[in-house]
Subunit: 207 residues, 2 copies
């Protein structure tokens, strides 16, 4: 276990993105979040907005898949048919594996922990927080309105959990799927970063 690559899975509003970004700066390694999406979008030929929307979610895929199925009819045998959602996922798998091959980095979301499960140089982290903190964080960032923030947070996490379950057959947020899980509402962003950094210490050959 080298701990060269850090994957961060996170609940909506938990600050996981900021933690990953700060951590990458401290460790002086690349940080991949929307960058992955952009690369996947380029490779797959999908419109970037579609990829951003569907990259971690299962919602709406049925409609897209049916449309794709209809469009595909008569253009090949049924066994060659692959739903759009799956095409996108497997494109992301390829991109994430290639990024990991390049060297130490921090990757947020997109089942990276599962995708890189056969490597022994990955530290998998899950960040969660209580609803009050998640809601306040989302409101501060103008992400959702006061009226629907809690519903939107629950909905987004439900979509991420469904997506993770569909592609990994594992439960998103179950502690045994990660090396380290922490509650950012108790520790705060800065302390979470230093705790992950501390967890990595001794795992890097040059640390």
């Amino acid at each position: 276990m080298q701990g060269k690559i850090i994957t961060i899975s996170r609940q909506c509003g938990s600050g996981g993105h900021s933690i990953g970004s700060e951590l990458a700066k401290k460790l002086d390694v690349p940080f991949y979040d929307k960058e992955i999406i952009e690369m996947a979008a380029k490779e797959s030929g999908f419109h970037q907005e579609f990829v951003e929307e569907q990259g971690e979610h299962m919602n709406g895929s049925m409609l897209f898949n049916i449309a794709h199925h209809v469009a595909y009819a008569g253009r090949g045998s049924y066994k060659d048919y692959q739903p759009l959602q799956d095409q996108l996922y497997f494109t992301q798998v390829k991109v994430i594996k290639e990024l990991a091959e390049k060297g130490p980095c921090v990757i947020v979301g997109r089942c990276a922990d599962y995708i890189l499960r056969d490597r022994n140089d990955v530290l998998n982290v899950f960040i969660h927080a209580d609803m009050e903190h998640k809601k306040n964080r989302c409101l501060e960032r103008g992400q959702f309105s006061e009226e629907n923030a809690e519903d939107m947070i629950r909905r987004r996490d439900k979509l991420r959990a469904d997506h993770y379950r569909y592609y990994t057959d594992e439960k998103w947020g179950d502690s045994t799927n990660y090396h380290l899980c922490m509650d950012s509402s108790v520790f705060g962003i800065e302390k979470c970063v230093s705790m992950i950094e501390n967890a990595c210490r001794g795992m890097y050959p040059d640390s």
Copy 2:
């Protein structure tokens, strides 16, 4: 959040007991594991072996409860009837709340995280490990035989999970039920202790 009281939930063979014990020594606070059972046994009037067996498990309780039900028949109204397993649990709840009132300490297992959920000075930790590490640790300690170690570990964790679900209506090992979860097979016992100690730092008024 003061972090004065640390509860440690752990998978069988993950080293959670040793981590709790070492942590208590480092923090110079009392460590409660079997001590809780002994106190609960004394208070409840149960035989200590029965309490050790049933303290965290749901198994066998049906037989004991039926026997108790039969023995109870005719000695009071049905609404006064409380299964043995529940009597034991609520005795442990009382003991754990009293211990927490006494001051800083480390408590292992027995739903202490849930029992103390209304306090704001508790840090809840979950320790897990991969099967190879758990098996090796159990074999080194002569806890199980080579032939049945894996089955026994799975069985014991299943019983703990059932017990936790029954009394808390929550999923044992789900990261959101704890402030900090860690994989002891990746970090080792010593590093887990220092990581929890580090997590507490700044949470103690005198640290």
